[in-house]
Symmetry: C2
Subunit: 409 residues, 2 copies
């Protein structure tokens, strides 16, 4: 008996009702052109707290209320979770809407903005421990000490069924979808979507995607059982889970065709494409689906197919956006930095800059460093950051500098 | 007889059909909290070419085709427009879909990315003249010389009726809306929306918003006739029109309650809020509605009301986003730059940085300039860029530096 079924997902949907946004799933012309297939984006980052996590959280909270009522209690009592991310936000928000007290344990280093966001929904925030496991352990202790219900982030049939409502919506809006590409962290979302989608359309392919730095489902499927995998910091921080859920794994093993991995550069580029072409701020985890379609499109045989990318969250630190734009543009060849050695005499810097201008580079920043220059003391190093058209344009500029006798790297 | 009516807008909607996206208009929890009223965002930046302009362009093109057929011709012949922005993109895209050749005249300085975007939809791009008026003049000449239909950007009943379909959608999705805040450039969008919305719900308030640097409708309404107003470069570049349309003005005079002005800082903050809270990339023009609700909410008596912000476009240069994030964060007190004079001896820079760290500032960049420092040659200037919590936090840091005897500004 699988942990979730089409029926349990449909029941979840009836339960959560209009308090969860049936997010749109529009066709994207620009991404379709880039990927060579018909791309539709499921915009679940438009949920009130910026991610799909509300679906499972609300389903779970409503089931707790129903159970309390069935047991003759008026209220279900409080709940506790360990999360510094979207699960915490979704739970805090729906707890507040439903009048259920929510406590969240976060590691001590949790960013201030996440703490204050969660507090703004009335949640009690407890900072504890150095690692996420410490926080989780403390949340379990609190649950038993204070008689709170512990709400897992993914490995729970009610949470999984709630996430599965996203799959129902996709199939309703796009009944002839060929493939759904879904980011995988603990596996709650993909197992929910796969269960709903495969029940309604057995031929649809469910493709998982993980960051190379957190390949937990990939490794577990290869091993045939849940494997604990060391993760490294990744732009897709929402996917950095050391171990996928046992129940999630069992569903994924049955229903997920393939899990592909994407690199940090692929993720940065995908975030940039979504910003630039789709006008959407998507967090690293949410952008991995596009990264997979762009990088592995051929291997996944997507050509000509109707493909849904699950944009599952948009909670990215705004100060990180600038860095990602620069990294993505550099990867595109649209931003380049050259360090040029020029004679330390009047006119030579101007000559170098004129040369760049003649070749159409748009100089954004010049750093002129006298102290850490080349070995030859008659030269100085000038570091130039410039906007360029593409990699070929950068080559053209390098050739021109070379011809003018300038050394650089 | 007004230039457009509910009927002409309904006819436009039947005509353009599914080729225009009925964009969603979801409730925003975060913006509602900020503005003290119920904010809904009409996401028209999700049109294929990133703005509402497609609505009018497609309506106009289809009417040309119908007229050609009525005259016994097979095809309507080519069209020409002058625009370096969203009008050009919308026209090029729908011209390609409908098999109508599109020529666009842009000023010589038009950004490369706009030229190549338009070309990618098969349009012929002609670069001509230094100003927008030059380009427009040339487009009119081409129209007469090459027997092309000139497609105005706003002052045309078919264009205005097309833009009005956005108003129909708002009233369908939110029949009890109290106020609609709409950016004003030439006035095509607001006159279309006002006509549709007031016909369906006479009590709805239509509020226009312009950049302080391009207050053309504001000045014209005050003068009781269309006034030509010198504009200055603004973040809301899509609104920088020297003169509103005559027909648009006549509709606006009848149906628009109020036009408010917003500053460049207000616009930058609004773009940042939309990025950060709504996960949406909105161009300056599209963000002015939020800027108005944030800045003028009290004067506009929005408290407790259902308010729709028309997010009409998302075509902002991606390299500008970083600058806007920084500007908006600086305006929030979340980013600060201090230039500190410190003794040019080992250890003093470290001491200054430790002090900042103790007070919770997150240093992002340090520039240490020996050449252009203070008059006292024993001192050097260090410019420090840091993340801070708010204006009070910056005050706290300044006080701490002062107490430690450091001079800065």
């Amino acid at each position: 008996m699988p942990p979730i079924t089409l029926e349990s997902i449909r029941a979840a949907r009836d339960r959560i009702g209009d308090a969860i946004y049936h997010s749109p799933c529009p066709y994207s012309l620009s991404l379709s052109r880039l990927c060579g297939c018909s791309i539709y984006c499921k915009l679940d980052h438009l949920q009130m707290t910026g991610s799909f996590k509300e679906r499972g959280a609300r389903n779970k909270l409503l089931l707790l209320t129903a159970a309390a009522h069935a047991a003759g209690q008026k209220e279900p009592g409080g709940v506790v979770a360990a999360s510094a991310g979207n699960h915490a936000l979704g739970l805090a928000y729906h707890g507040q809407l439903l009048g259920i007290p929510v406590a969240v344990v976060m590691p001590r280093w949790a960013p201030l903005v996440k703490v204050s966001n969660c507090r703004s929904f009335g949640a009690e925030i407890i900072l504890h421990g150095e690692t996420f496991d410490d926080a989780r352990q403390h949340a379990l202790e609190l649950a038993s000490r204070r008689k709170l219900s512990f709400i897992p982030a993914f490995d729970d049939p009610d949470i999984m069924a709630g996430q599965g409502t996203l799959g129902l919506e996709i199939l309703e809006d796009l009944p002839d979808v060929d493939a759904i590409i879904c980011p995988v962290g603990g596996g709650g979302l993909i197992s929910g979507i796969a269960t709903a989608a495969k029940a309604l359309r057995p031929g649809v392919r469910i493709i998982g995607v993980e960051a190379e730095y957190a390949p937990t489902m990939h490794a577990s499927l290869a091993a045939g059982k849940v494997r604990r995998v060391p993760t490294r910091p990744t732009l897709a921080d929402g996917l950095a889970v050391a171990e996928v859920g046992q129940l999630c794994f069992e569903v994924a093993r049955q229903l997920v065709e393939q899990v592909v991995l994407v690199s940090e550069v692929d993720i940065a580029k995908a975030i940039l494409r979504l910003l630039e072409l789709e006008k959407m701020v998507i967090e690293g985890a949410g952008a991995t689906g596009l990264a997979a379609a762009l990088t592995h499109g051929q291997r996944l045989q997507l050509a000509g197919k109707k493909v849904v990318l699950v944009l599952c969250g948009g909670n990215i630190d705004v100060t990180m956006i600038s860095r990602i734009i620069e990294r993505g543009m550099a990867a595109d060849g649209r931003l380049a930095r050259l360090t040029i050695d020029i004679p330390d005499r009047p006119g030579y810097l101007a000559r170098a800059l004129s040369l760049l201008a003649e070749h159409g580079a748009n100089v954004k920043q010049v750093e002129h460093d006298r102290h850490f220059g080349p070995a030859d003391v008659a030269l100085v190093s000038v570091s130039v950051l410039m906007e360029t058209r593409d990699a070929a344009h950068i080559q053209e500029i390098r050739a021109a500098l070379q011809e003018a006798g300038m050394t650089f790297d």
